[in-house]
Amino acid sequence: MRLGKIVFVVGVVIIASALMFGNYPLSGSSIVYDDTSSGIIFSAYSDIHVEVIPNDGNGVFSMYLLDGIDANNTVVQNKSITLATPLAQFENITSFDDTLMLPGLGVYALYFTSPESEFLNLHISVYPLHANLRVLSGGIVIASLGLIIIVSSWGLKKKRNDECLGQTTNSV
């Protein structure tokens, strides 16, 4: 019974966390200048809404959405974006505010370059659009398991009590 209660509470906490923090926005800044480009790597599990604005209000930049492993190989090995296969690309833009589709849970990268080689300080916000379904479903499974343990141990206890009561009545 006690174990069931603990498992149930843990399941409820996981469900609550998935609903409260599962789509918590990630924010950061990225600095690009000359031939140095930069970006943000993040873990995501659903479609995202991305907002990118230069901190001083103007400037032209290009943005690429990459698979994390692809970003790693391209940037580390080649120091260039040219060999990468972006999932989405937006070139020569002054700001970005749109939804991007992701294939599923994984590591992704937003990679920024400055076509005019100017110094840019970009403010990036990534908003996951849905609750973290994997954590949520895990929480539901654990809470259900807790409920099953509670109900079955309650049933066992009742059965045992009934048997004891039956034996006492028979002996009387």
């Binding site: 006690r2 209660k5 603990i6 509470v9 843990v10 409820v12 906490v13 996981i14 609550a16 966390s17 998935a18 923090f21 599962g22 918590y24 990630l26 950061g28 800044s29 990225s30 600095i31 031939d35 140095t36 480009s37 930069s38 970006g39 943000i40 790597i41 993040f42 873990s43 995501a44 599990y45 994390g68 492993i69 970003a71 790693n72 940037v75 580390v76 120091k79 849970l105 994984g106 590591v107 990268a109 990534v126 973290n132 994997r134 954590v135 895990g138 654990i142």
Partner: protein, 258 residues
């Protein structure tokens, strides 16, 4: 042997019914899981990279899981404060309400009694924290940490909790006061956290007093990561301190009038 096991079972039943009664155990589980998930989901999911620092991209992909573990573990720095509170409830309060007299009517040795009470705090806290990590990893991590990293973290957590519990137990049996145990535990925790923020603090001292933080710094190779020799030596010394503190507590408890 069977009779001894039955007595131990009775003792555990009393403990779960009194010191860990509903909803203390369930509340502790909820707080620990919530803290770990909060830090993991809110701050553990991103990192910057730049072609100016290409190594950081490579490192990040290799260390994404350790970084997420590190973020989640940050919550336990504060949550480990539960240890002195739970020791106070479990070990110090029976001095105040006289429940040790009832306990000692059972045919159990004092050593077994204290060992059960303090051991249960370590067992429950460390098991819950380890479970929080093991359950969160398959649910929220896109890349898995290595078995070696995970093993190191779990060992360090058990040691860190054992250290907090052993110090609090010593204070509890020495003072026999609930408030003194809580305050003593908080003071030790504060000293420990101050040491983490202190510039130039020896890494061996950090490993000994806060194995959990040292281990997480080690797996992400952070600025204050200890070298492997310091880590190994620190963990062993930390374990020895735990054993010595428990022996002291048992000796004092044997001679204490309840």
């Amino acid at each position: 042997m069977r009779a001894r096991l039955r007595r131990l079972y009775s003792l555990l039943r009393i403990e779960f019914g009194v010191s860990w009664r509903f909803p203390i155990l369930e509340g502790v589980a909820a707080i620990l899981f919530f803290g770990f998930l909060l830090n993991t989901l809110v701050s553990g999911m991103k990192a910057n990279f730049s072609t100016g620092y290409t190594q950081s991209v490579f490192n990040f992909l290799d260390r994404l899981a350790p970084m997420m573990l590190h973020s989640g573990m940050m919550s336990f720095n504060a949550l480990v404060l539960l240890a002195p509170i739970l020791v106070a409830i479990s070990v110090a309060r029976p001095f105040e309400d006289g429940f040790y007299r009832t306990h000692l009517t059972l045919p159990v040795k004092r050593l077994t009694l204290l060992f059960t009470k303090a051991g249960l705090v370590i067992l429950i806290l460390a098991t819950l924290i380890s479970s929080a990590i093991m359950i969160t990893i398959p649910l929220a991590y896109p890349l898995l940490p290595t078995a070696a990293d995970l093993f190191l973290i779990i060992v360090a957590i058990w040691l860190f909790i054992a250290l907090q519990v052993s110090i609090s137990t010593l204070i509890a049996v020495q003072t026999k006061k609930l408030t003194a145990t809580v305050i003593g535990g908080i003071v030790f925790w504060s000293v420990n956290m101050s040491l983490l923020g202190l510039e130039g603090a020896p890494s061996l001292a950090i490993v000994i007093l806060n194995p959990m933080n040292a281990a997480t710094e080690f797996i992400i190779q952070g600025f204050r990561a200890p070298v492997i020799e310091d880590l190994q030596l620190g963990l062993v010394v930390s374990l020895m301190i735990v054993v010595v503190l428990f022996i002291l507590s048992f000796v004092i408890f044997e001679r204490t009038e309840v």
